[in-house]
Assembly symmetry: C3
């Protein structure tokens, strides 16, 4: 449709272009003819009158066109784009809305001694999201995971005030500021599942957070209540505090050094129960490889995290260490910990992108469908978690993962992971160390 | 993008404007020169031929351009706008679609004698909606509440025929026509939660309704089956009839008197069970302050409601009285009742808007983000409900609520409510009268 | 808005059109005057210089406009349309997204001897969908049914590679390739519910499928894992293979002969449980009229289907036969079967449309809202299922259905069905043969 208008305009131009401002030649010519005596004074006066009338008419039409132009600008004259996601934006950028979605479908085969995990398939995530900006300074987001279901499926659901220079303020349901692999969108994690360290993760809570994103550093701190699915009834849900600070002394295209620390405190409320558990970097069978079960009489717990990551061209390295200590009423405190190190290499030469204290989207140099082969990436990870302490024997596990990612386009990804659980001491799956092969297809925008 | 086109057009205009219809001067001049004998008959004839050819060519191009213009009009040439919500509309208005959403995040602290309600947070509502018009005369709406979950989360889900002058017909899942506070969109209620009177509300049912909305009155009547989550299995679900008539003898901008009556009859079906319950104008802990429990052997029940509301500039007053009588098999009938009165004052001078028999959106005079401070409103409410009758002791409660609303923009609201439950006689929380403070952030479009 | 631009353009044209290329007349005239000696050599030179300058300026402006036109083309210049569904498309068709939805609201009355089914209402389906194309060769779809709820509500959720000539490849959650009535969108089935034969249907599974759609034939074959809601925990979920081939020797507008075979094999995995059940072509009460209960110790089962369908103008006929055989560990095999035949007649003269091996949308010749009466269709069906074999007495049922459909527009349908369950031998509802009347309102796009 727009192209038709452009064609109209160019046709108009071809029609009218060469004639442009011919009037001045005519005026010149008329003056000359008058001077030469070729045309009489009466004829000259008549021509001048006609020219004068035309100028007035033209001016009126200019004014009228200008008015119409202004009205056109005022009307709902938005920019629409589609790249899977549909984005709509007012010309002044005061209002934007993006409709997004993603689906991950997994298939997994487990090989283990005493058949404790079943082969199967799963829709790992199936999400829709709405996000954007309103009245210049307000941002909002809502994302729901249909694969998680019911209230628990509510992921990000917040409003943000961005009108201050120093920082932004976010209120609603959001991720606590903790851990690089957790902050990253699962679409772009190096492996299909986050490392065993995710067993000491914070999850999302309803609360308020202030944050700043600068070129070389970010800082965020928040005060949180319970998770969306928590209904306390007679009991206080508990509350938490969290903060994460990142620093990137090197941060240019294809070259990065990222350092970060985070801390999280959580009061267990009157519910006073806490549980740490983790699946074996595979999410299909629903079996946890380590699991403390419900720890009762918990007063509070705190977690600390250290992060380091680097990029050098196609190579990326990322490592985190997390420790959790649990304070109990009338029982000794507990200490758990976990760490991982992983490295990825983009065979097709792209670099992992870094923004706002975390890695983002992989954009292949050439997409399948545009004559390219997409981006190919290899990854290797070692991770370990220890949930054994005092009378709590949640288990200690070590795991090695090998992965290959094919980003066929910036919106379509296929991944294969081989996970070798090296060792499990204690916990529900003592001495079980399955080999796991899993496949994923993913579209996301 | 459109601005580019406008710039092109204005450039074209500057190029071509002053030359406009120069041809007539040329024709005049040529005639003059011919009359003066300055140009010969042969020269004159040649010029006339050239001018004639051009006119034919121009006419052909006008016709060709007109054809292109017509084709352009025929193509899918829709109007898109975004103000949070994305709206799309065909130029003739025959088809419209609006994609909307809203999220309310609450935090609540309860103070009470014997600790019967726990502090906490909650995503109170998280909805997406699609609504619009098709083929001129058909309207549709679907709205889902992710915070309620599963089938129960289906809110409005109907189709409407608007092609009749006298009334419209709606079929699907919808609110029964009952009670002003219930008809109003929760986004714009004066307080975070509807009054205790909501404990005698009807809820939504699947059915058919006819209705008329006029300037000074509205009327609606419907025949309904069960609620979306009801699965009767072997038993009839029951059915209901409802009607509401509103009259606004005064109804101009900033000045309103609203009167209404509604009646609702519901056959209890073969399930024959009925339950009235209500939370303490706070929805986070999940605790009911009054609750009849399941009343068995119910034949039918009927409800009547009276409404009065007024607006005078920034001041609004609203009151409702509802009575419910329950007819039981082989047991005496029951009678319950409830009423509230509330008043609001918009400190920033806006008036509550009234349309189609209920209050609507608050549009601040000046929005935060456009250099303004939004709209600020204070509210005060007294409400009471009595669910004690015969052998049923559901409890009788009285409550006082103080609220402040900040509509930062027409789409973003923050509220704080202080609720003082004055008295509870009988019911699950006999003698408990908590003080409650609750906060809400809301975005809605 | 666009219309404003067109008005601007046409105004511009009226302004500038008649003057088009007036310059050549001026040049001619100037030359003549010079030849006549009316203007001097000096005057002539000055006029030529002015004309030359203008030509250079015009050329520069043409170049500048061309650049702007090119930039405009490059920008996110998409086509948006709305017909209930909102569709967005890049001009090259490389990216498309369609936002769709549908709601079906049912009301049902059962009449039966010993009151085994209750009257009631139901939101039968309430779906939203996102589908489209990315990077030319990739298609995606996600559809969720809010009336089914939670993970089970995930319907289609797949990505497709369409870059090969021979076939397309689909990965994710999708319908197994089996049975005409199952492949068809429920929006356009002749009756409100699929026939009793749906009791031997395959459902959707997570897996991968290759398929080809040609003018006169289609073929598809897939390898599948479990259903979305299956969580195997310790047990393998099982897997399946399926294929369907269709052939349409006659296939022109209003004239069709369709023949098809399909086969499906499913390994019961370590769960080893299988259940066939079916409601009485009515879905409101939630009561199954035949039901094998859980069949234990199942090794695998296989199904075969035969299809024949025809269209002759407004008349359509459709029939399917399905047989299922179940292989059990240490128990005799089981054999079940089912078939139906149905015929429809479009009173308003439309024909059922056929595409890609199944019937599609009904587009009324004239819509209600555009001055028409929509499309009216009558249907008659006989169907039977036998789930009795060996020690399994799931029941054998026969059913006769009479239906009328009113497609008021291509997006709005109202249906009424009368179902007479003729006979039930064995199973949970032995000797119960209810009469059922049910109504549906539907909007879908």
């Amino acid at each position: 449709m727009k192209l038709n208008i452009l064609r109209l305009i160019s046709m108009l131009f071809l029609l009218t272009g060469p004639a442009a401002q011919a009037s001045s030649e005519i005026e010149t010519l008329i003056d000359m003819l008058h001077q030469n005596g070729t045309i009489s004074d009466a004829q000259y006066a008549r021509l001048q009158a006609e020219l004068g009338e035309r100028k007035i008419k033209n001016n009126q039409q200019v004014i009228s066109l200008d008015k119409q132009r202004l009205q056109a600008k005022k009307s709902s004259d938005v920019e629409v784009s589609v790249k899977g996601a549909v984005s709509v934006k007012t010309p002044d950028g005061a209002f934007t809305t993006k409709i997004g979605a993603r689906v991950m479908a997994d298939a997994t085969a487990y090989k283990n001694d005493n058949n404790t995990m079943g082969d199967g398939t799963k829709i790992r995530r199936a999400r829709m999201s709405l996000q954007g900006k309103m009245y210049h300074d307000w941002a909002y987001k809502f994302e729901y995971d249909f694969a998680t279901g019911e209230i628990k499926g509510i992921a990000d659901a917040f409003v943000e005030y961005q009108g201050l220079d120093a920082m932004s303020v976010r209120v609603g349901n959001m991720k606590d500021p903790f851990s690089l692999q957790f902050q990253m969108n699962a679409n772009y994690n190096l492996f299909m599942e986050r490392s065993l360290t995710n067993g000491l993760n914070t999850g999302r809570h309803i609360g308020a957070m202030v944050f700043t994103n600068r070129k070389n550093w970010t800082a965020s701190a928040g005060l949180f209540g319970g998770a969306v699915q928590t209904v306390g009834k007679e009991k206080d849900e508990g509350w938490g505090l969290g903060s994460r600070v990142t620093y990137a002394p090197i941060n240019s295209q294809g070259s990065l050094l990222h350092l970060a620390v985070s801390a999280n405190y959580r009061d267990a409320g009157e519910v006073a129960i806490l549980r740490f558990k983790q699946q074996p970097e595979s999410n299909v069978s629903g079996i946890n490889i380590v699991d403390t079960g419900n720890i009762a009489k918990v007063d509070f717990h705190s977690k600390y995290g250290l992060e380091v990551a680097m990029v050098s061209g196609p190579l990326s390295v990322q490592s985190e260490y997390v420790t959790a200590s649990v304070s109990r009423y009338s029982a000794p405190s507990l200490a758990f910990n976990s760490w991982y190190i992983q490295t990825g290499y983009l065979l097709t030469g792209e670099s992992r992108q870094y923004r706002q204290g975390k890695f983002g989207k992989i954009a292949p140099r050439s997409s399948v469908g545009n004559g390219g082969i997409g981006a190919w990436e290899l990854g290797l990870r070692y991770s370990t978690i220890n949930l054994n302490d005092q009378n709590i024997m949640g288990g200690a596990a070590k795991s090695l993962t090998l992965g290959v990612n094919w980003f066929a386009t910036s919106t379509i990804r296929f991944s294969a992971n081989y996970i070798n659980v090296l060792q499990v001491n204690g916990g529900p799956l003592e001495s079980v160390h399955p080999d796991i092969i899993q496949l994923r297809s993913q579209w996301a925008f």
